[in-house]
């Protein structure tokens, strides 16, 4: 069974251009596994774990790996375009409306409210990510080190280059 490039493009473009706030990652699994049945649950989990390990937005990585598996390099490229281009187009429409509207004081205040809200959103996400790890001294240590490095403007390449190998080492040494 060969999946058409058009089907790959339409599935991914529809999801990534309609979902906001991380909703795309939940929807894409339903689409690929349940609706299209391109992958089994296990195959999808494998794609996901690779996508999470590589740098870049997870949704892009899942898309690239999906396209690659279904239709090789052409599939991967199609998936990449479908995932990035329509969403960027919509972002620019929204940004143009909002930023142009910001000459109206009320809209500018609303935008300031959204920016303050986005800080709260990120804070809530960070709390949610940290809470399940509160019992692991090792995790808390590396969370604190990385946070301090980021706040103190240590270059990201240095932070990752030092902390990731160190983290691997600590895990390897403390393994039972």
């Amino acid at each position: 069974m060969s999946v058409s490039l058009g089907a790959i493009a339409s599935s991914l473009a529809r999801i990534t251009s309609t979902q906001i706030g991380g909703g795309a990652m939940l929807t894409i699994r339903r689409e690929l596994v349940r609706r299209r049945q391109w992958f089994t649950e296990e195959e999808y989990l494998e794609i996901l774990s690779l996508a999470q390990l590589a740098p870049g937005p997870q949704i892009c990585n899942v898309a690239v790996l999906t396209g690659l598996r279904l239709r090789g390099a052409a599939g991967a490229f199609t998936a990449w375009i479908a995932t990035t281009a329509p969403a960027l187009g919509l972002l620019f429409v929204i940004a143009a409306l909002v930023l142009r509207g910001a000459s109206v004081p009320l809209v500018a205040d609303a935008l300031r409210g959204c920016a303050a809200g986005a800080v709260g959103l990120t804070l809530a996400n960070s709390i949610e990510l940290t809470a399940p790890r509160r019992k692991s001294v090792r995790d808390l240590l590396f969370i604190a080190l990385a946070a301090a490095a980021g706040i103190l403007h240590v270059p990201l390449a240095v932070t990752l280059g030092v902390l990731i190998p160190l983290s691997v080492l600590v895990i390897a040494l403390t393994r039972p």
């Binding site: 870049g56 969403a87 300031r112 986005a118 800080v119 809530a124 995790d139 490095a149």
Partner: protein, 173 residues
């Protein structure tokens, strides 16, 4: 020259974007606001909010920054730079699929990476707050939004963010 700088800054961030992009926000703010003065801290925070309200990845702040610096061509260069290298790397990883499949390093690396990414997302709060938090009401909105997201964990974050926008229109002058 500007195009090259956009490509270099965002291309580097693309390859460092482990954990989906949360981790690069502090460095991106530093590069874009402090180092190159492409946009102000306030504009960066606005772009961040807009990227949360619009479809697509948060990394697309890069495209908005590119537009501010050099119009649509700048946006195109910045978008290619932020989304290209990481996707190419993923493509490469995908090609070497079978070698990575059962590799014990994969699980170890994922486990080692997670707390570092979470720590950097905490630093990202500080980076965004620089351009978003000033008068007392902005603190109130940020805290209320945090509480709303944690309490109504099933509500859509976009809806909650719109709520903080309404609060801003009412409370900030």
């Amino acid at each position: 020259m500007t195009y090259w700088q956009l490509a270099l800054v965002f291309g580097t961030l693309s390859l460092l974007g482990f954990g989906g992009g949360k981790a690069i926000i502090p460095q991106m703010q530093l590069d874009v606001v402090v180092q190159h003065h492409w946009v102000s801290a306030m504009e960066f925070a606005r772009y961040f909010a807009i990227s949360k309200l619009a479809p697509g990845a948060t990394n697309s702040i890069a495209a908005l920054t590119g537009y501010a610096v050099a119009g649509f061509a700048g946006a195109g260069v910045a978008a290619l730079a932020i989304f290209g290298p990481s996707s190419l790397l993923t493509f490469g990883v995908g090609l070497a699929w079978d070698r990575f499949r059962e590799h014990p390093w994969r699980e170890l690396l994922a486990k080692a990476l997670a707390p570092v990414v979470i720590g950097l997302s905490w630093a990202g709060i500080v980076a965004i707050a620089q351009g978003a938090i000033d008068v007392p009401w902005t603190y109130a909105i940020a805290i209320a939004t945090t509480a709303a997201v944690l309490i109504f964990s099933r509500a859509h974050p976009g809806v909650i963010l719109l709520g903080s926008g309404i609060a801003g229109a009412l409370l900030l002058h």
